[in-house]
Amino acid sequence: MQDFAHSFTLAGELIVSGNEDLAEIIALSMRVTATALGISALIGLPFGAILAVSRFPGRGAITVLANALMGLPPVVVGLSVYMLLSNAGPLGPLQLLYTPTAMIIAQAVLITPIIIALTRQVIADLNAEYADTFHSLVVPWHTAVGALLWDARFSLITVLLAGFGRAVAEVGAVMIVGGNINHVTRMMTTAIALETSRGDLALALALGMVLLLIALAVNGAVAFLRGTERSAAHA
């Protein structure tokens, strides 16, 4: 118990003192996750919206697939991306394995189905409300998709924050494709796993506390946006 309390104290000191290693790991984690989220948003938001408003053969199957892939095991994603990026894989010549780019790809693969599936649901619900008006005004489908995305922006930010939360807390995939190399691909989650196994609980706890703070900040942001949405009566 005393060791536990001591570790907590050390963790607090590490955070307060602005430890360089800690800051580097946090900065890399944020950069990788934010980039992965950006890529997933660029793909997932329009694709999810099109899936919600369009009618084409195979749409139902794609929707089921996107929903199923929301629960994609991170280690399976890591393994798949590893096979693609390894020297023997089709993208081997790019030499991306064990780089932050590989971790961005893995995280993007992991959360894009989440963004697609949740966006589809949000946009489908709003489209059910707007469809007759759009049809009456003879709104072209691409304009309708743009309008739905814009009008659902508060709900979609919540979707993106859900994707961010999933990516930032993920360990299996980035461990496999990043390799947890110090000063290169060491993320918060992989560092926590490593430092715990090495017995350096202070650093692991410090990173865990930062991760918790980030999760709290994300949830706080969601609550704030919901409040803003309600007060602006856009809901």
Binding site: H135, V138, A147, A233, H234
Partner: protein, 254 residues
């Protein structure tokens, strides 16, 4: 008083430039869903120079007919022709439909109107926006989120959005249902003004007094069939069908 007169005169000058004839022909129109025949072989000819009110009890098929005329529903069988042409996107662009429950975008009043303007190539968008806000008394609400407006204000915005594209045909599905008298008056004034400018108006209402105020002709529908179609005065003075007489007497029709 002078100001009101000048606004009214100005509005009428604006609106007179919009319309052109678009007569309607409906032949043997049926609509069925889940083994229930809602409309049963409707034949209807509407000229361009009347404000037509569709009347009838709940479930008669009025709203379904209006949606079929605008292409929001596909008929089970039969034919809808405007100016002798089947319903195409080009024809629907010349029409506007105001729903009983207004559906507004999650944006400001102005943004809702601008969205409609952005759908067509309209050069004088700023002027149109200003006119539309003025015509429906929405100037002071222009920057308010549409969803915080009262029911009457929302319906006026829905009507403004329909009129801002200067349709040749305006369809209204119980536009003043559940509205307060002041909002009802504003909407009726706007409808009358549009009608005087030459726009064809087809309107559903359950309120006999409103129909008497606005209608030039009445189409009475009961149980999926048109039982009367005649000038408003003749309909209200001498309803021929038993159903219409009972309806106007305030009896409950099933």
């Amino acid at each position: 008083m002078h100001e009101v007169v000048s606004i009214t005169a100005h509005s009428e000058i604006r609106l007179q430039s919009a319309p052109s004839p678009m007569p309607l022909q409906v032949r043997n129109l049926t609509f069925a869903t889940d083994n229930t025949e809602i409309l049963k072989g409707i034949d209807l000819d509407l000229a361009t120079d009347h404000l037509t009110v569709l009347m009838g009890p709940n479930g008669a098929g009025k709203s379904v007919l209006l949606r079929l005329l605008h292409g929001l529903l596909e008929p089970t069988s039969g034919d809808v022709r405007w100016s002798g042409q089947p319903l195409t996107k080009a024809i629907r662009k010349e029409q506007a439909l105001v729903f009983q429950k207004p559906v507004l975008l999650r944006r400001s009043v102005s943004a809702n109107l601008n969205f409609a303007l952005g759908l067509r190539r309209i050069p004088d968008r700023a002027i149109r926006l200003k006119e539309a806000l003025a015509d429906l008394g929405l100037e002071s609400l222009a920057r308010r989120p549409a969803r915080v407006l009262s029911g009457g204000e929302q319906q006026r915005l829905a009507l403004a959005r329909a009129l801002i594209l200067k349709p040749k045909v305006l369809m209204l599905d119980e536009p003043t249902a559940n509205l307060d008298p002041a909002s009802t008056l504003l909407i009726e004034q706007a409808i009358s003004k549009v009608r005087r400018s030459g726009v064809k108006v087809i309107m559903i209402t359950h309120a006999p007094h409103q129909a008497r105020r606005l209608a030039e002709e009445v189409v009475f529908i009961h149980a999926g069939r048109i039982t009367e179609h005649k000038p408003a005065k003749a309909f209200f003075d001498r309803p021929e069908s038993e159903a219409a007489r009972a309806y106007l007497a305030g009896e409950i029709l099933i």
